[in-house]
Symmetry: D2
Subunit: 351 residues, 4 copies
Amino acid sequence: MNVKVFKIPQAGPDDVSGLAAFVQAGKLNPAAIVAILGKTEGNGCVNDFTRGFAVQSLKTYLAQHIGASAAQRIIYVMSGGTEGVISPHLTVFTREDAAPDAARDWGLVLGVHHTRDFAPAEVGTLAMVHEVAAGTTAAIAQAGLTPEHVHFVQVKCPLVTASRRAQATESAVLSDSYKSMAYSRGASALGVAIAVGELSPDAVTADSICQNDDLYSAVASASAGVELLNCEILVLGNAPHAASGFVIGHSVMQHALDVDAVQAAIAHTQQPLERIINVFAKAEADPRGTILNRRHTMLDDSDISHTRMARAVVGAVVASVVGDPMVYVSGGSEHQGPPGGGAIAVISRTR
Amino acid sequence: MNVKVFKIPQAGPDDVSGLAAFVQAGKLNPAAIVAILGKTEGNGCVNDFTRGFAVQSLKTYLAQHIGASAAQRIIYVMSGGTEGVISPHLTVFTREDAAPDAARDWGLVLGVHHTRDFAPAEVGTLAMVHEVAAGTTAAIAQAGLTPEHVHFVQVKCPLVTASRRAQATESAVLSDSYKSMAYSRGASALGVAIAVGELSPDAVTADSICQNDDLYSAVASASAGVELLNCEILVLGNAPHAASGFVIGHSVMQHALDVDAVQAAIAHTQQPLERIINVFAKAEADPRGTILNRRHTMLDDSDISHTRMARAVVGAVVASVVGDPMVYVSGGSEHQGPPGGGAIAVISRTR
Amino acid sequence: MNVKVFKIPQAGPDDVSGLAAFVQAGKLNPAAIVAILGKTEGNGCVNDFTRGFAVQSLKTYLAQHIGASAAQRIIYVMSGGTEGVISPHLTVFTREDAAPDAARDWGLVLGVHHTRDFAPAEVGTLAMVHEVAAGTTAAIAQAGLTPEHVHFVQVKCPLVTASRRAQATESAVLSDSYKSMAYSRGASALGVAIAVGELSPDAVTADSICQNDDLYSAVASASAGVELLNCEILVLGNAPHAASGFVIGHSVMQHALDVDAVQAAIAHTQQPLERIINVFAKAEADPRGTILNRRHTMLDDSDISHTRMARAVVGAVVASVVGDPMVYVSGGSEHQGPPGGGAIAVISRTR
Amino acid sequence: MNVKVFKIPQAGPDDVSGLAAFVQAGKLNPAAIVAILGKTEGNGCVNDFTRGFAVQSLKTYLAQHIGASAAQRIIYVMSGGTEGVISPHLTVFTREDAAPDAARDWGLVLGVHHTRDFAPAEVGTLAMVHEVAAGTTAAIAQAGLTPEHVHFVQVKCPLVTASRRAQATESAVLSDSYKSMAYSRGASALGVAIAVGELSPDAVTADSICQNDDLYSAVASASAGVELLNCEILVLGNAPHAASGFVIGHSVMQHALDVDAVQAAIAHTQQPLERIINVFAKAEADPRGTILNRRHTMLDDSDISHTRMARAVVGAVVASVVGDPMVYVSGGSEHQGPPGGGAIAVISRTR
């Protein structure tokens, strides 16, 4: 397996010119695209249409090259919110068959899995935890990985809209759409934690979801979207003799200013700073209302969502370390790192 | 002269309990207060009433201890906007007579000056540049400093409101209140640059104000306020054998992610990290629309003012270096550092 | 009893010049002030400091004229948010002894009551409902009113902050500060409804608070504030032969565009349009997501709080009817009118 | 000529299901579409991507039915901002050949014109005024109208982006993108005013554009967009014996609360309220800072753009009169009505 990673700037949500340039130059095989992660310049909250606009633009472009159904199979994870210095961009992952390369050291591999659809009453529950755990296990196997070499698991998960809720049997978890997003991300992250062995299945109970923040994964990143009913899972890790010219490492930010964790994730790749392709981090305003024992005002700000400010902060901190503001920082980090912190992964070239 | 510096958290704009605790404990002599710089939790833009609320609360408290007229003479500079991790607080400067301390190395000294009032047509013009230059020179002399040992000059300057403009002879500079704030800050900063010898008086022409961004001061920090008609100048620097147990250093951030400049300003104090009292930095969204050659979206964001995001970014970067989010980062950096960057100063204890 | 009502524009939250002009002219007796309702220009949400700034400014001014303790006894209800055309102002109510005026028709009377303090666990519960009901009954009696002639009851009620919650026995109602505000307002409004006979005490059960929106008062207006632990109640109504030169009427807006209800409230006063002193209305974004069967986007807007937009809408509609944008429209209308609608009262001069 | 008008709700910017339902039912001939005006739920300012998303969605849908080049020829005017009660929707105009209907009274006709492209230095200048005047005259002729029976002229006009500015000869008008939008709208509106005879060509001088607000059109509505370099003009008016079952009337709101003007525009159609299809109005926060002699806070609000609040206000006022929140209210009314007011047009069915 030869996995490649491309970071492509966007001038706007509908800008596919950078992707097209790679394709036209023969450097990126569109038929090999497995997943596209994007940072788009909306508010990252409910009424953020930049995500849908970007996906519509990408699908329309790719359908012309690889057909509509192939374009549809790709995992699109658009994360809204490029607050502060974060620069809008796409990260495109391709996977092609290739013989293992004995001359090489460890390299990037990936696996994907699409779970079954979830009923509204299942979203954010133990049922989802266990499905995601099973799906992540399958994706790990597909990647040819062992759990200890998994460094990043991106899950795109459903939410329960008002209209879906109206058609469904009620459930305590589903009282509003925004809350269903949090529980869906939280359940997905706990599923990942079980699959990679961070938590035992018994440790995760129904009432721990979005309640017990001692339980978390150091490699999970979850994003809820209105456009799907199932979970789509992308597993990234390193395998020996991989054909890929890329490698991944990770760490956990204990708080929003945890520069040491950023350095640790980079060090984990065993590659110099200038080979970094992208950094993937989760951000949230510390729910305790303080950072390093100082009061912050993000949670009391009724003018700007705290998720926006949290991304601005983590984006700036990460960018100041790697010297590049084009990084992937997303919000909503339920069970994806400790409270106020979050998982962080780094992908670098190996030459 | 014995200059002391106190950093005091605030639970809200009207919270004087921290100041009162210092006073009651006999650690802070209210009669010796020369200036109070604050970060308050408003939007830092036009309709930010947290600044006035904080000043009213401080004056009411201090009037009870030192009388209304003494409370009135203090320089109050409230900078609105504690975006991201920035923690609301006051920095109180006191100055008391003291014999030079030959046993000590260099230490912090300060001088202040109040210029004459400016007519509306003068605000933001060469007349203001030259008055501020003269006033800064006077404050430097009062501090017993030489220009090369000046590290931070805070100027509070007037703006031209609609009602003042209606009463005044018109001038091109004064077309709107928001613009008058920028020109007032810019002219003040250029005045400082002349006084400390960064620019020759001839280099600053009428049409360079807010136009030629090659001209800037590395030690100026200006803030425009509706409540005064003159400029109030606070000069901070180091002098040999000062009685103060504090010292100041500075540097210039070339861009919002310039960690090296933060480190340089700290190094300039020749004190370890844990002795830092506070950091004073200016922030702005790079007017070229890019940071480190990556597009940023701050200037196109019609939901959140770019000044708010710029403070969130610089606040996070500075806080990540010093390990403390209670820092003073203010916006509006015309001629106060290069475009997209800004002056940065650090005050540390010397023991 | 001679009740007078003064509407006074403010140039900012700390502007007491209009009030001072009335006092200096001998038209307004500061010692007779019972209550001051204000619209201030903050966001009306959590971090709105314009309310506290206005109250601090008013108390400081009034303490100079009537002493600090008398200034403290006045009921201050500052409602944040002057979105759209709403113009910041104060409504000052004074009450002085006067003989009934047999030559006059019905006129405005008022009564006030301060309840006991509430424990955190009581806020937003049946205990509060019943205390407010009893307090409203007492204020009605003080006003010399019968329940059917009550037209407006303003209740200022407490909320449960994080710090108060930390010190208290937990309760389901208190899970967050914002929610405690809603339940406190809702319980207060239900108390009013019982006192004026709109609801029987049996109809209000513990689980109906903020859940059963069929239950509401047509005369209640509640506002939650951090600065008190009890409820302060102001009852307004008409009595025969009152000495007042003012009269009050009310109606209920069924939705945000209910012009007929505005007209009905005016007609209720039996006075022409040009005698209107002020209109008091509640606003909320219809929780069903539609207005007149058309989708609205207020509840999905993550950039602007729906309460701000609701005030802009109702303020514009009311102002367009009365021809004056200086009206009192406040948000948060739990049990204060039907879902998406709200109580509306009009005070007019009678000559 | 048979002109039809369809108002179609949208559940989101990419929702074409309502349009598709009309097409599938055979009620709307997609090949006859001349123009689509939409209200989309973005902020209506610089970073509003809902407009582009809606246009992309419409073009993709229509290209499947009428081909890409025909879909491209349609005039798309998406106005962002559905603040308050305004409900997102499309207004689709179709035109088909038909014999004049002698049995009918006056009815709706329309004409369109595309001007030549403008150089950046021409945008917002007299050159644009005169081109738009000529183009409007041509569209009036195409519609078979005389100027006095023109009731609404929608102009979509270009703006000057930073990148276009960089490639162009500089001009004073073009100093920033936001300003170029205002001048482009203003010049377009003045062109319309000349074409319909509201202003003589001599009355409009270079320095009156966006400066002399005594000059305005009562029938112009202009919208600046990044996606075109020319102006696209849609003229609507009434002609005798038209085959259309629709009619249009107009008036001018003197201020944001001008209910009388809304009533006058309706009366102008000589049709009852229940036959109204849509209302088209312009909104702006009164630049003098007052409405009906009361201070408003919209222009000092640094959290919410005044254009958003102005739409919320005018949308609520218009909706309260017509009893339908699905109305077309757009911002930016330079020379499109008096300061603080704006043109308003009403289209109704005639049976």
